[in-house]
């Protein structure tokens, strides 16, 4: 599913002349694993009050999110053509109510973890057995609200809350470390009282293992990824945070993705 989703995301960003393909390609493996049976949610249970909740807090990775949801059967793949076009359903940042499976409209960073912790504490108080997964970007950890929530979730021992940080190392202009250094990132989360796991964010088996039920703390998975993963000329290139592929670049990207 991940490879299909990559090709769909690249097509969407090219046809919609949109941005953020690099951010989409880095998180597609993580989201694919979540929707491959790890999170207890499916197209048929998306309105169930006891479903697991997947929140994409890095809402700019919209093409990647829509691609995974479409290939997971939440809506018809034909809707991909409506990405970032006038009157289309799919917007450049994920928007709730547009397609099934989007739990929270995001696009402004630093909202998903706090919203998710609200669901988590409500479930904890009610004794409901459900898990909340929040997929965040690493640049998002610049936001103060992330750390407000880090305090809160640890204080309340929200072990039903799992944050996954797409640690691709790049943000808008340059690397996270030359923008506003995050390292030692694992140690920061540990110091806030979270259980921290560090994995290869493109290794599905490692992700699945890390996403198993945590202990008695909220847990964060720092997933090492490559921005633009799967398309050689996009990998690790900050330019593809904003750039949209032209026809030649689209052809090149698809030939790499289809040949894998």
């Amino acid at each position: 599913m991940a490879q299909l989703a990559r090709a769909s995301a690249v097509r969407m960003v090219a046809s919609g002349k949109a941005s953020h393909i690099g951010s989409s390609l880095s998180m597609i493996d993580i989201l694919s694993v979540l929707y491959s049976g790890v999170a207890n949610v499916s197209p048929s249970s998306i309105n169930s009050p006891l479903r697991d909740v997947v929140i994409v807090s890095k809402g700019h990775a919209a093409a990647g999110t829509y691609a995974v949801l479409g290939h997971a059967g939440f809506f018809p793949e034909s809707w991909f053509e409506e990405f970032c076009i006038d009157g289309g359903r799919l917007t450049g940042h994920v928007t709730a109510g547009t397609v099934p499976g989007i739990e929270l409209s995001t696009g402004s960073l630093g909202h998903g973890l706090a919203f998710g912790s609200g669901i988590a504490i409500s479930a904890q108080r009610d004794g409901d057995n459900r898990r909340i997964f929040v997929l965040m970007s690493d640049g998002e950890c610049d936001e103060g609200s992330v750390w407000e929530t880090a305090l809160f979730a640890a204080h309340h021992k929200l072990n039903n809350l799992t944050a996954i940080i797409d640690r691709n190392g790049l943000q808008s202009f340059e690397s996270t470390e030359s923008t506003l250094a995050l390292e030692p990132l694992d140690a920061k989360w540990e110091a806030f009282g979270w259980q921290v796991l560090h994995v290869d964010g493109h290794d599905h088996r490692a992700l699945k293992e890390a996403l198993k039920s945590p202990g008695n703390k909220p847990n964060v998975i720092v997933a090492e990824t490559i921005k633009g993963k799967g398309v050689s000329f996009m990998e690790g290139q900050v330019a593809w945070h904003y750039k949209s592929p032209n026809d030649v670049e689209l052809g090149g990207a698809l030939s790499e993705l289809d040949s894998d």
Binding site: P49, A96, E103, L104, S105, T106, S108, G110, H111, A114, F115, G116, S117, G118, I119, A120, I121, S122, A123, R125, D126, G144, S145, E148, T149, L151, F152, H155
Partner: protein, 306 residues
């Protein structure tokens, strides 16, 4: 009004476990009873208003109704985007309880004044706004939120010494006559209604007979009810808020959209603020919304109208 507020919320929450109360570490000496009686429904989020508003939305998304409590400036400006993106855009049932509205915390200084909150809450799509004048209107606003949940802003000032109403009014009408009169109509919102009643008394001693209408619901703006109650008279609005973007502005916008022509004066805090510091009474007097200031403005209004 905070005591009446907490009594009403606690009563409702005692019989309904889906009612939650979250606070940004405020409400000392007021919220403890709720916390001790209903610990499973109480969360102190700490001094973290941004996370609190997103969390409140998340809790509400699990089919709950959430009261989110803080001082008006912290409950609005600090976390405006969380309110906009996570609460109103998604239509989650969070009632933001904004205490100390206007200049209630006068001597605490500018950081604690809530004089622009109505303007920014009004502009948010889907936000309903209540600004009660006394304990009875406050109770009615809470009932309205619980009966018809949805994004709600409840603006509470300091309770007047005497109650405006004799019992719980039906706030769903949006505007309520609290004194009849034929020369002009004073429309007021929040605890300043009390000062308007005092002003009307003084004016009647000098032969000027003004109606006073309390407007506890600012959004949706009850323009139909106001037009009906005021019967073509000229209007003076009074609010403990900037004259930009608040209650008076809402009236003028509504009159315009209704193609209704009335002679209107808007009283409130000057848009650029005051250059003096002091208590609520002192600041309201400086802004001209104490009883004597209102009397003077009504006389000026009637003179200008002729």
């Amino acid at each position: 009004m905070r005591t009446a507020l907490m009594r009403r919320i606690t009563d409702s929450a005692s019989s309904d476990p889906s009612i939650m109360f979250v606070t940004g570490d405020l409400g000392f000496s007021v919220v403890e009873e709720f916390r001790d009686l209903l610990p499973k429904q109480f969360i102190n989020c700490g001094v973290a208003e941004q996370a609190m508003m997103s969390m409140a939305a998340g809790i509400a998304s699990t089919n709950k109704r959430v009261f989110a409590y803080s001082i008006s400036n912290f409950a609005t400006f600090r976390c405006l985007e969380q309110i906009r993106n996570d609460i109103t855009f998604h239509g989650h049932s969070v009632c933001i309880v904004s205490v100390g509205a206007g200049a209630s915390y006068g001597t605490l200084g500018y950081s604690h004044h809530g004089l622009e909150d109505l303007a920014i809450m009004r502009v948010l799509p889907g936000m309903r706004i209540f600004s009660p004048a006394d304990n009875y209107e406050t109770s009615s606003a809470i009932d309205a939120f619980l009966d018809e949940p949805g994004p709600t802003y409840l603006r509470l000032g300091r309770a007047p010494a005497t109650q405006i109403h004799a019992g719980v009014p039906n706030i769903s009408r949006g505007a309520l006559e609290v004194r009849s009169g034929s020369d002009a109509s004073i429309l007021a919102t929040g605890s300043v209604v009390s000062a308007c009643l005092s002003a009307a008394e003084s004016l009647s001693d000098s032969g000027v007979d003004v109606q006073v209408v309390s407007v506890p619901r600012i959004k949706p703006f009850p323009i139909g009810q106001i037009l009906e109650l005021t019967q073509g008279r000229s209007l003076i609005t009074v609010e403990e808020h900037s004259t930009t973007g608040g209650f008076g502005s809402a009236l003028l916008e509504s009159l315009s959209s209704q193609r209704e022509s009335r002679f209107v004066s808007v009283l409130g805090f000057p848009p650029e603020g005051l250059e003096v510091h002091g208590s609520q009474g002192f600041l309201n007097k400086a802004a001209g919304i104490d009883p004597s200031g209102i009397v003077k403005s009504v006389i000026d209004h009637l003179r200008a109208q002729r």
